[in-house]
Each structure stands twice: as structure tokens, then as C-alpha cells.
Symmetry: C2
Subunit: 314 residues, 2 copies
């Protein structure tokens, strides 16, 4: 374990990859590892990218990473693929993604799926971010497919969140629906060379007009991720947002709030794991479920009984 940590802190890719696998598999030694690398975290800046399927987030990330690399910054990408809870494993593998950066040793790419159900994907993503932060990356990009609740949760880990829209498909309206309006620090109108891009921009600006004023109004940035057009300006806005957060002390506040969530998250995760494993191992579950299925016992009373038996709350 000492060796793995040393390797990680020395910047060995294989160690980073291995630690993220331990995180994903909720390995028995994981908490201790995470605990030990924690002092080395806190310096990376986290960028979140989300939006509807098909909005071109992968190619946007690709171009953004090229921009970041030109500035000499080290970058890691976590691509979160909500895959089947049944088959496990990400369908969009690391291998077929981001091929243009495949040979750049300062770009670390990792896909994460919903493999383990315990703790959930946002828990695992959070921990992977910490691993890559300790791994001495300057920028960590988290990219999620889709705009469901888990994607919103994942985006809480980001310092600056980009919401990607595209012309057509009623994206702007769907964005309100999905409630991601509030998490966007920057809107990106991708495929801005297509018809309807102006309309999406106008609609988004109109939605922003309805918000109460603050010192940061999310800009709406047109880009064409396939050609790279607009990427430099987008990076400029990300930097501007970061500087504002740092200057106003809000970055510290955000991160402190996130730590609170994290402690809570870890706590819940540990208790859940313990209770469930114990109950499953005891074999009493089947008898209980039989009664519940026959409606002799209701699930609430069943849970209450298990809790009373297994966990003593002080």
C-alpha cells in the first residue's frame, strides 16, 4: 500500500489507474488509501461538462484538453458513462475515446461506469477526482452523459460547470426541465455552425434574464467542437470564472460545503455497507422477505427490526 501511494505521488500512471480501480471496486483498503493521500489533494481545479446525449461533449472535451495542454497544464479526464446496472463496465471504453491525446503522457483518461451500486457513481467519481488531484494534475475534467439526477450529483464535484446545448431538439427547454439551469456556470452552444444556434443562444439568454442578478452571469459561448472554433474564448471564460471564485473566496466556501457532503457520504456508505453485508450474511433475510411477500410483515417494520437488531444508535 505504501508503495502504491509513493508511485501515485511520483506520478506513475499505472498507480493512478490501479487506485481508481480500487475505488470503483470499493476495495477493503480503499478508505485507508484515500485517507493517506488526502493531504496531497486540493490543488487541482475541477471542470464539469454535462448536457444531453449527442450534444458533442466528448469532442468538446477533446478540444478543450488540447487547449489546456498548449498552456502546459497537466490534465485528467473522467468520462462518466451511465451504463447498465446489470452488465457492469463502461461501453464507451477508454480506448476508443480521446485518441488524439492517447500518446500524451500528461493526459490521463478514465471512463467510469455504474459498476458497484453501493455508494453510487457520484461517490466513486468524487474519489477518483481525489486520486487524480493527488496525482498532481492541474485540471480535472469530469464529463457526464445525460442530465439525470446522478449526473447532477456528480457535477457537484466541479468548480466550474459547463452545460452543453445544441441547435434543434428543443435543448434549451429540456435544460430547464432537467433542472440543470442552476448548476451551469457557463453555457456552451456546440455545433454553433448549424441552423438554430442563434435561437438556442437567444433562448438561453432569455432564461438567464429571468434569474436574479449576481456577480456572475453565466455566459453563453458558441463553439464548434469538431473544428475547435470558439474553444479559446471558452477557456478564457473558464479562467475568468475561476478567478472570480478565487478572488471572492467563494471557491473555499464551495469546497468546504463539498467536504461536508463528502464526510456525510462516506459515513452513510460505511454504515450501509456494514448493515447490508451483515444482514445478507446472516441468512435471515430470506425468512424476512418471505413474510413480507406474503404480506404478513410490511417492509417498514422489517427494516425497523433489522435496524434495531444490528445498529445501536448512541
Amino acid at each position: 500500500m505504501n508503495e502504491l501511494i509513493q508511485q501515485l505521488l511520483r506520478g506513475e500512471r499505472r498507480a493512478a489507474a490501479r487506485m481508481i480501480s480500487l475505488v470503483e471496486n470499493d476495495d477493503a483498503h480503499k478508505n485507508e488509501l484515500m485517507s493517506r493521500i488526502y493531504p496531497n489533494t486540493g490543488s487541482a481545479y475541477i471542470i464539469g461538462i454535462t448536457g444531453s446525449p449527442g450534444a458533442g461533449k466528448s469532442s468538446l472535451t477533446d478540444k478543450l484538453v488540447a487547449e489546456i495542454r498548449q498552456l502546459g497544464l497537466k490534465v485528467a479526464i473522467i468520462a462518466v458513462d451511465p451504463t447498465s446496472p446489470f452488465t457492469g463496465g463502461a461501453i464507451l471504453g477508454d480506448r476508443i475515446r480521446m485518441q488524439s491525446h492517447a500518446l500524451d503522457s500528461e493526459v490521463f483518461i478514465r471512463s467510469m461506469g455504474t459498476r458497484g451500486s453501493l455508494g453510487g457513481l457520484s461517490h466513486a467519481t468524487n474519489e477518483a477526482v481525489k486520486v487524480l488531484d493527488a496525482f498532481d494534475k492541474d485540471i480535472i475534467v469530469i464529463e457526464t452523459v445525460g442530465v439525470g439526477q446522478s449526473e447532477l450529483d456528480i457535477m457537484h464535484a466541479a468548480d466550474t460547470t459547463l452545460v452543453v446545448l445544441t441547435p434543434g431538439a428543443g435543448d434549451a427547454i429540456q435544460t430547464i426541465k432537467a433542472g440543470i439551469m442552476e448548476i451551469a456556470d457557463i453555457f456552451v452552444v456546440n455545433k454553433a455552425d448549424l441552423d438554430g444556434a442563434d435561437k438556442v443562444k437567444a433562448e438561453t439568454e432569455a432564461m438567464l434574464d429571468m434569474r436574479t442578478a449576481s456577480d456572475w452571469r453565466p455566459p453563453v459561448m458558441p463553439v464548434v467542437s469538431l473544428t475547435g472554433s470558439g474553444i479559446k474564448d471558452l477557456w478564457g471564460k473558464i479562467t475568468e470564472h475561476r478567478e472570480l471564485l478565487e478572488k471572492t473566496g467563494r471557491l473555499d466556501e464551495i469546497r468546504k460545503a463539498r467536504l461536508r457532503e463528502e464526510v456525510r457520504d462516506i459515513l452513510e456508505h460505511e454504515i450501509k455497507k456494514y448493515v447490508w453485508n451483515t444482514v445478507e450474511a446472516s441468512g435471515e433475510m430470506d425468512a424476512i422477505l418471505e413474510k413480507v411477500a406474503n404480506r404478513e410483515l410490511d417492509p417498514y417494520t422489517a427494516a425497523k427490526n433489522i435496524l434495531a437488531e444490528r445498529v445501536k444508535l448512541k
Copy 2:
């Protein structure tokens, strides 16, 4: 409380609406209420409808409900809107939805948002289903917007799950991405009058060809939800699927597996609630977080300390 239960079992709409609100707000009396109505549940058949935003799920549900009502069955609709975790409350309110059924007293319509974060939306949806089951509805339709992980979780409550695709927008491929392939019992190609509908159907069939054979191959049903074309055939397939599940005993199996998840879910929910309330109320959290923020303490050790102090695992 007795009165509320009596009113619910007597079929008073207001009682059902109020109980779902108690569920959403995670009311202190909720568990006892749920526990008391449990013996009256188990007779409703649950249909899940999911798909990408903009696939026309609402109008499909609308037409399907009309079909169900013609058969004299009582139906409830739970429309799950993944709304903002910040503002709370569903943007697509009940009022603007399903206006064609607004005056039919045997159709109960409810939107649910991600109001409370504790326990999550799938927990609350599950409980709302139970309330409506006790409320003596024959069919409960759960409709979700989006295809993220929480939507997948919600769909676990359904006996028959419909995945709605549309021509264009690369829907079929996005479906694999989002991992909902495995949860589909029936694929619906909506807007089947548009160009490309045949292509979506063909692509979906091709994907199905790659699956291992079983006694149910998900049919791919073309419909036009705006006109109602294809709805009768779709209902026929739903009925066919239900009959298969009942005949083979698989419905019982599915429901028993679901109960296991439910007991686990309730258990976890209770633990979370307790731990968080206790820790927050104790006021020690701020001191701990200060240390964590200064990197004097790591979140894992912090959680371990809280756990040791507050919870005894037997």
C-alpha cells in the same frame, strides 16, 4: 392518521394526494402510514415509460391512459420530473399535463420532483406507487424524463417497462449508451410517421438480435402518440407481457426481488436520516469540517470518528 388511511382506502383523491405529499416530504408519520397500508397493496400492475427528453412520453402516456380507461380500468400516473435540486418542485406541474383526463375521476395524476434529497427520488416514487396501489388503482403508470441512473432506478419499480425511441437524434445508439437496453420489455418507436422511423426500428431489432434468446423478445412497436395510431397494438403487447409474467410465475419473482431492494432501501434511508440529523444537530460538524478543510484531518478519518462516536454496530 387512522382517518387518512380510511379515506385513502375508500378511494378519496384528496387523501391519496396528501399521502404522496407526506411521502415526498419524508414526514415523521410516513413510515407508520406506509406500514399500515402495506397489506392493501400488491394488486396494481405497474407500467414504466422512459426515454430521451423530447421523445413524446407525455403524449404517449396520455393516449395509453385513454385506452386503459376505455377498458374500464382505474389508472394513476406518476410523472417523474427531474427538476432542480435547488428550487424544488416540479416545473411541469400536474395542471398543465394530461388535460384530456383532468375531469375523469378515475384517473389520478401526480408529478414528482427531486424535492427532498434524503432517500432520493426512486425511494419516494416507490412509496407513491404503494399509496396508489392501496388507493385501489388497477394500473399505475410511471413516466420518467431522461435516461440517467436515477431514472433506471425508478424503472425497477415497473412490471412492464416501455422504452420510447424516436426517429433521428441517434436515439437507438444513445439507448445502448445509457444502458436501458436491459430494462426494456417493449420498445416504442414514437413519431413513427416521420422519416427514419423504419431505421430506428431496424437498428433496435438488430440490437435485439445480439441478445441471448429468452421466452420474451421485446417487440418494437411503432406508434404516433399525437394521433393515437398504434396505441391499441401497444396495449395488446403490454397485456401479452403481463400474461407471460403471470403464467411463468416470474411476476412473483420480480416482485419478491423488488421487496428485497425495498427493505434495503428503507433501512439505508433510516440510517442516513438518523446519522445526518444527529451529526448536524450536535454542532460538532463545523469543528470537524474546519479541520478537514485545513487538511489537518481527512474526510475518511473524520467519518470513522463520527461513526465510532455515534453509531454502534453490533
